[in-house]
Amino acid sequence: MTAPPVDRIQGTLDMLILKTLAHQPMHGWGISHHIRQHSRDVLQVNQGALYPALHRLEERGWVRAEWGVSDSNRRARFYTLTAQGKKQLARETAGWLEFIRAVHAVMQLATV
């Protein structure tokens, strides 16, 4: 089963979420915080984009959601990467690196 092609920008957010979840299951706020922190506040994931993306990923079967309790004892919905999600992450990562290399090559050429 191949997933339909995903738009690059949206696909980037999906990839970031999947990558974040690759370490451990996490709730929505945790994911956005993780991305913000690791990008040193460059990437700020808006909730308006985050939750539709999470539901889309869940719909595609790449993540699974369960209600749990957060560190601060708050009820939260935890997302876990599925086996399919891992494969998708690998695909996206490869695609991403290719994209970066391509853009990088073009940019280097341009500065010469």
Binding site: W29, G48, R56, R60, R77, A83
Partner: protein, 876 residues
């Protein structure tokens, strides 16, 4: 494996998304709220005062409503939800064109209704297994004659088969007749089956109350018992448990009632009383018994055939000339029972399928036209982002809605039709048939609806959505030319189908009319028939039987309005009767001589207007003590005394009655009558006088009363006089005309139904032609207006429209004629003295169809010429 689990999970989610959208929304709200709180906590941890921490979190969070909406969209609509949405849109769109919707739903209701009704008959007769355990193990046996035809078993042969066979677990013989039963609340003439002891065991049918035949019963010298139907128990035995106190007297024997069968047990069809017995007749040619058997475990039909055939062939070798059977024919019981009805039913099923097809074609064509007018709507939706698949699905859903509504109405119609057939035409169906609209029929109707919905929807949807460019702006018939051509082809197809049906119906109608014009050879007008069932138990000797009729006949002749009254043991076109071999002129070999055996009185021939062509009829002189006389029919004279006079020859039937040694002298020859069916050539018949040989009248006797008034006016008087002679003798009244009608009931049924189907198809085809032309005239209003403005007169314009119509119709007629030539072959067995390719019929139905099509196209053609050229031109 993991994929499988994930897929399952997703399906589950989708199902949940559909069923519990409210809950998912609630969860999402909670999730967002929890996110906000975490953000607030985070801000506080970063050192902001609580108020500001919350304010900032809320500011960054943005609109909750939009997030919720987008998240919901990301979850996706479930397919069911989409279907629901499509259905809502479809319903709205159908409501906007109520005329189309009504016509379409009614057309399909009619089509699916009659199809389901025919299917319920086919299912009841041909498809549904017989209502016995392991019905496929039941077989029917017949003795095989030298010419390969089958005949009933002789008792002696049956017992030998029963004793020897290993491939049959059980086997039983039975014979049914209408006869008089005494010992119930009143003397009744009813269906009685004489059965051997294993009859119920073969069928695997237990009694509903009491029991069937117990071991030891029904054996030679053992006790004999009776089992009755639920109906008989309720109507004639009071419906109480003390049935077991009753003893029925049937045909000279007394039978205690031991059980009541359940209401659905109906074998042989129409039986109310089953009595056991043993046939002690040693004759190997007394073919009196139907035989059914149940295959032994593991035995196949083929093995049974081989074994049973071998048994009878060995018997033949042993008994030689004493026996005429040369083998056995083994048939599956269901196949045997439904054999006669099968061809007509299959023809009707095929025909009704064609009608449904015509209806579909009609609606497909209407759909095309409708789709065209909707192109603008579709184009707008397409421009707004609906893909072609989406539009096609939308149109299909619309058609499915129509066809399912039609199907639901159709099931109601099928229920009514099936009831009508069962109550109005019982004689047209085999007696065992259990015809009703049940789950199977409803499932069939549902499937038919679904398929018709696809059929009427797919092609138009495809074509209509094919090229929507330009449809928004112009909105007019840019590409309608091609579509009109498609519709022309559809019309042609419709016409062809209708013509094939009309041809079949025409041939059947012509057959029936030819048959009803057949002169049966006897008068049928104003003749009342009174079936008189003498109880054999009371009329156990020759004198008693003869004296009953000696008293009854003068009584009947004395009724005012009665011209004549006669007697015969089996009325022409009636049921029952017997036939016999006979020796000739002192010889002792009866083989090769065979004739029906009829017992009459001296006024029978006169009553029915059957002329004596040679010698004399019976007179009062043919008394009991006088030398026995016989009158034969012309067919018998011709067959056995060709080219010479039969008068004076003597014959002797060896096993027919109590006068086996007495020779009969031929004293007269009467004209032939069609006694076995209007379409059957007369068979040799001998007539004896009841004063000399009345014994067999206890197997059935009919008094014929010819009046100056219609038979029903005499009925009460005839019944009263018969009762006055002996109240223990049930009398059943009918008329010869009814018998004639009954003899063609099956044929009339098939003819009527097929004609109705053909007319319906014709009507639909006319409707189709009308629809297409009306539409094309409307489309071409402007062109027509221009033509008329340029001086074309009405005649020219009308001719143009009619020519267009005929361009579609005539090829359809040609194709239909060719198809008819192929299809009417299937009818051959149902035709009487009409060729399956009868040119007159084919010409007549073609002419009829063309006339109807011309009329259907003349209406729009006329309208076309009423167009005011100016208005037409300005219209756009």
């Amino acid at each position: 494996m993991a994929t499988l689990i994930e897929t399952g999970r997703r399906l589950l989610r989708r199902a949940r998304a559909l069923t519990s959208r409210a809950r998912l929304d609630r969860e999402l709200d909670e999730e967002l709220r929890s996110h906000l709180e975490m953000e607030v906590e985070y801000n506080v941890r970063q050192g902001l005062p609580p108020d500001e921490a919350r304010a900032r979190a809320v500011r960054e969070f943005g609109g909750v409503a939009r997030v919720r909406e987008e998240a919901r969209e990301a979850r996706g609509l479930g397919p069911l939800e989409e279907l629901g949405r499509d259905a809502r849109i479809a319903a709205r769109s159908l409501r906007r064109s109520p005329a189309y919707t009504a016509v379409a739903v009614l057309t399909l209701a009619l089509g699916i209704g009659i199809t389901a009704a025919v299917f319920s008959v086919v299912d009841g007769v041909l498809l549904r297994p017989l209502p016995y355990p392991a019905p496929e193990r039941l077989v029917e046996l017949k003795e095989r004659n030298a010419d390969g035809s089958g005949t009933d078993f002789a008792g002696a042969n049956f017992y030998d088969v029963r004793a020897t066979s290993r491939t049959l677990a059980r086997v039983a013989a039975y014979g049914g007749e209408l006869t008089t039963v005494l010992g119930a609340d009143e003397a009744l003439r009813t269906g009685v089956a004489y059965i051997t002891r294993d009859f119920f065991e073969v069928l695997g049918a237990p009694a509903a109350r009491g029991r069937t035949v117990a071991p030891g019963e029904g054996t030679a010298g053992g006790p004999q018992v009776a089992v009755v139907s639920q109906r008989f128990w309720e109507r004639a035995l009071g419906g109480t448990p003390d049935y077991s106190q009753r003893t029925l007297r049937v045909s000279g024997g007394a039978f205690p009632v031991v059980g009541v069968m359940p209401p659905e047990f109906n074998y042989p069809a129409g039986t109310d009383v089953w009595v056991t017995g043993v046939d002690e007749n040693p004759s190997r040619t007394a073919h009196n018994w139907s035989v059914i058997g149940r295959l032994a475990p593991g035995a196949t039909l083929g093995q049974a055939r081989t074994e049973l055939d071998g048994i009878v062939r060995r018997l033949k070798a042993q008994y030689g000339e004493e026996m005429d059977a040369e083998g056995v024919i083994v048939t599956g019981l269901h196949e045997h029972l439904s054999k006669a009805a099968r061809p007509a039913l299959l023809v009707l099923l095929g025909a009704v399928g064609l009608v449904l097809l015509v209806a579909c074609v009609n609606l497909a064509s209407a759909n095309l036209a409708r789709g065209e007018t909707r192109q603008r709507e579709l184009a707008v939706r397409s421009a707004l982002g609906a893909g072609r698949g989406r539009l096609i699905r939308q149109l299909l859903v619309e058609n499915l809605l129509v066809s399912l509504a039609g199907g639901a109405l159709g099931v109601a119609l099928a229920v009514a039709l099936t009831k009508l057939v069962v109550t109005r035409w019982p004689s047209a169906l085999p007696g065992f048939a259990d015809v009703r609209v049940d789950g199977r029929v409803v499932a069939f109707a549902a499937l038919a609806s679904f398929l018709t919905g696809l059929l009427i929807g797919v092609a138009p949807a495809w074509q209509v959505t094919g090229d929507l460019r330009g449809a928004i702006g112009g909105g007019s018939a840019t590409s309608s030319r091609g579509r009109l051509r498609t519709r022309g082809v559809l019309i042609g197809a419709e016409v062809a189908l209708a013509l094939a049906l009309l041809a079949g119906a025409g041939l059947l109608v012509k057959s029936l009319r030819t048959l009803l014009d057949v002169r049966p050879g006897f008068r049928t007008e104003r003749v009342l028939t009174a079936d008189v069932a003498l109880p054999a138990a009371l009329y156990d000797d020759t004198l008693k039987i003869a004296s009953f009729f000696d008293r009854l006949l003068p009584e009947l002749r004395a009724i005012p309005g009665v011209e004549r009254a006669g007697l015969i043991n089996r009325v022409p076109l009636g049921e029952g009767g017997m036939n016999t071999g006979f020796m000739v002129d002192g010889g002792d070999d009866w083989r090769g001589h065979d004739a029906d055996y009829r017992i009459v009185d001296s006024s029978y021939f006169g009553t029915l207007g059957i002329p004596v062509v040679q010698g004399r009829g019976f007179t009062a002189a043919d008394r009991a003590g006088a030398p026995h006389a016989v009158v034969i029919n012309r067919a018998m004279a011709k067959r056995y005394w060709p080219g010479q006079s039969a008068l004076g020859h003597r014959i002797r039937p060896p096993g027919m009655d109590r006068h086996q040694k007495e020779w009969l002298t031929i004293v007269g020859v009467v004209a032939d009558v069609r006694g076995d069916g209007l379409d059957e050539a007369p068979e040799p018949q001998m007539f004896v006088h009841y004063a000399q040989r009345p014994e067999r009248l206890t197997n059935g006797a009919t008094v014929l009363v010819r009046g100056t008034t219609p038979p029903d006016l005499l009925a009460a008087a005839v019944r009263a006089r018969a009762r006055a002679v002996d109240a223990n003798v049930p009398v059943e009244l009918s008329s010869l005309e009814a018998l004639v009608a009954n003899s063609v009931a099956e044929r009339r049924f098939a003819t009527t139904v097929l004609s109705a189907f053909a007319l319906l198809a014709l009507f639909l085809a006319a409707l189709g032609v009308y629809g297409v032309l009306a539409y094309s005239v409307a489309q071409r209003q402007r062109e027509i207006g221009v033509r008329m403005a340029l001086g074309a007169n009405r005649g020219t314009v009308q001719a143009m429209v009619l020519r267009d119509a005929m361009r579609a119709v005539l090829p359809g007629v040609v194709v239909g004629l060719v198809g008819s030539l192929a299809l009417t072959r299937l009818l051959r067995g149902m035709l009487y003295e009409v060729s399956a390719t009868d040119p007159a019929t084919l010409a007549a139905v073609s002419a009829l169809l063309i006339l109807v099509a011309l009329f259907a196209s003349w209406l729009p053609a006329r309208r076309a010429t009423r167009v005011d050229p100016l208005i037409a031109i300005r219209a756009e």
